[in-house]
Symmetry: none
Subunit: 401 residues, 2 copies
Amino acid sequence: MNTLNMMRELSIATPSKIVMLVIDGLGGLPDPRTGRTELETARIPNLDALARKGICGLADPVGPGITPGSGPGHLALFGYDPVECNIGRGVLEAVGIDVELGPGDVAARGNFCTVDENGISTDRRAGRISTEKCAELCKILDGMTIDHIQIKVYPVREHRFVVVFRGGGLVPDVTESDPSRTGVTSLDIKLLRPEAVKMADVANHFILQSKNLLAKHRPANMVLLRGFSRKPRFPTMPEIYKLDPLAIAVYPMYRGLARLVGMKVAITGTTLADEFATLKQSYQDNDFFFLHVKWTDTAGEDGDFARKVRVLEEIDAALPALTALGPDALVVAGDHSTPAVLKGHSWHPVPVLLCSEYCRPDAVTAFSEPAFLAGGLGRISSTQIMSLAMANALKLTKFGA
Amino acid sequence: MNTLNMMRELSIATPSKIVMLVIDGLGGLPDPRTGRTELETARIPNLDALARKGICGLADPVGPGITPGSGPGHLALFGYDPVECNIGRGVLEAVGIDVELGPGDVAARGNFCTVDENGISTDRRAGRISTEKCAELCKILDGMTIDHIQIKVYPVREHRFVVVFRGGGLVPDVTESDPSRTGVTSLDIKLLRPEAVKMADVANHFILQSKNLLAKHRPANMVLLRGFSRKPRFPTMPEIYKLDPLAIAVYPMYRGLARLVGMKVAITGTTLADEFATLKQSYQDNDFFFLHVKWTDTAGEDGDFARKVRVLEEIDAALPALTALGPDALVVAGDHSTPAVLKGHSWHPVPVLLCSEYCRPDAVTAFSEPAFLAGGLGRISSTQIMSLAMANALKLTKFGA
């Protein structure tokens, strides 16, 4: 079954409302000292109450054993096949700093790096220069025009930046200049398809000019480019689901991902309370809400088990403000697991909960990985969560007579 | 998701080690007198301890209801789609007796059979002649050259043999001569594609000559051929997984299967103790070990419930020698179920256990089919076991940014 085509065929616009609360990096692993995961350790009475009321399960964003990045993890939650609908690295970085890409633009991810007098790379990250320094250097490189292509350079963080190539006839199928190791020169950008000849030429010229402009800026005296890509053209959520979806997210990458699938993006603050307040304010104006909470993932990435527990407890404390709105279908899910003991994203399936008047509850009484093993949703693909949410909000008609 | 492509993209070589212990025909069915399966009957404290420590589940080698042969069962465990990556019968038989096949060779499985004076088949197995007799008759047929094609004939067991056709221009797409019943004459080999005309001609000539040479050897006075096939070209495990895999198996078919996917094959003895000793000796030199134990399957095929229980207990007793090596990821699985009450392979899902530092344990406390129903792996496809093992040994990078 092609789920998106099925949704496009069966979905109808109704006044009912769906809230999808995405707790980034939600799933975890046991602390070896206690044998309990972050969710099992946290005091989360409101999430536990939802688990009692709703139907629970574990979801694989991509597949068993596969650790997803943020892009694939979120696309799966929105119902898109994350392998088919891949987003290039350059585009994801651009989207992550709120850079708007036109349909013909090509974006690439850049690193400032250090090379010696023979052009041999000695540090692929230029000693992780400050974000401030990065912004300064980007100004130097920004604004070139090569062969009628305008080139914009945007700082990201530390040594990272984004280059956007704008103009006619650019095809992003080229290799990267980053050799992925030191002790060698950077690579020439080569074409992977004949149509990409202009892209390769412009990129190689840009790198050469950048080298000249940066000559006196050691350690950041060279650039490495990779992930040349164009904004993908996905069918949008309004087209597929007949929804009017709103994204509420503090971090730009998640707003960017939401825009790629056709969501509107709310203006919100920088805290969990801000996000929940924005949800309440906009609740009458939309029928689907993607509410993204980042800090569980950040704590997991930092290997800070206790902080991840604390963030979970904060989310739990804020939850009544959400449930008080009475969404017709409420999804609590994660884009991937980020166990503190692994200090990074992982392949472990992610807890998912669905709550509605019609969700056929199971016997689960706690919001945790082990408890959800026995949940009524079983083990599903994350791409199936949207169709379940749509069904529970009575937004899908019957298939076949 | 095409799992092999995904693995090829994400896998990295690391020093971590994976051991895959394949207990042939592992799954069973309850003895009607006790209501307990072979695994539930056996005293297997070490396997039970692994079940407590690791994550458990049930795996389908091909699909629900499908009884796999040894080829598909093993290919699935190695991560290959067993339907897509089919191995012809002739090749499997050749590989099963350590016959090396060249890329252009065509192998066919042969039976000696009995025909009457009118060529009507009266016994498709020639009264199951002895393996000794079979070897004698194979010598008579071995060594023909027909139309520049050299023909080698190798005895297998009882009435079974393998024919290898070697020379230019052979295409294996031909029908079989075995009518699969008695009371009729054997069939002419026909081509399924125009390019196979030479193969069909040579095979029909070989059958005619064999009939003449065997005329005085009743009951084995004719041959039946089927399963014409060429050695498949699978991507190898070193290519896909960046592993340096070693196979430890007493029986040649399993060594042959391992070679088809690019494993090295260890020299080992004929007992379980020999196999475990070989594992220990080679442990420093490889990073993936396929250790195959045959005797559970043999006991199951013989319908000998008690013997299957005994073999399970022997494996359990030997297990500490394996766990003492401290593999980063340990898989205990089977290629299919062989319930003693069915006296043969079956379609039942096979217990699978995965143990690593990062495997998110479940509540399972016993190594058995009913206990594994509640396992954290849930019900998976056997083809997913390799990606889970790779992830748990931290040999996979993130998918997407």
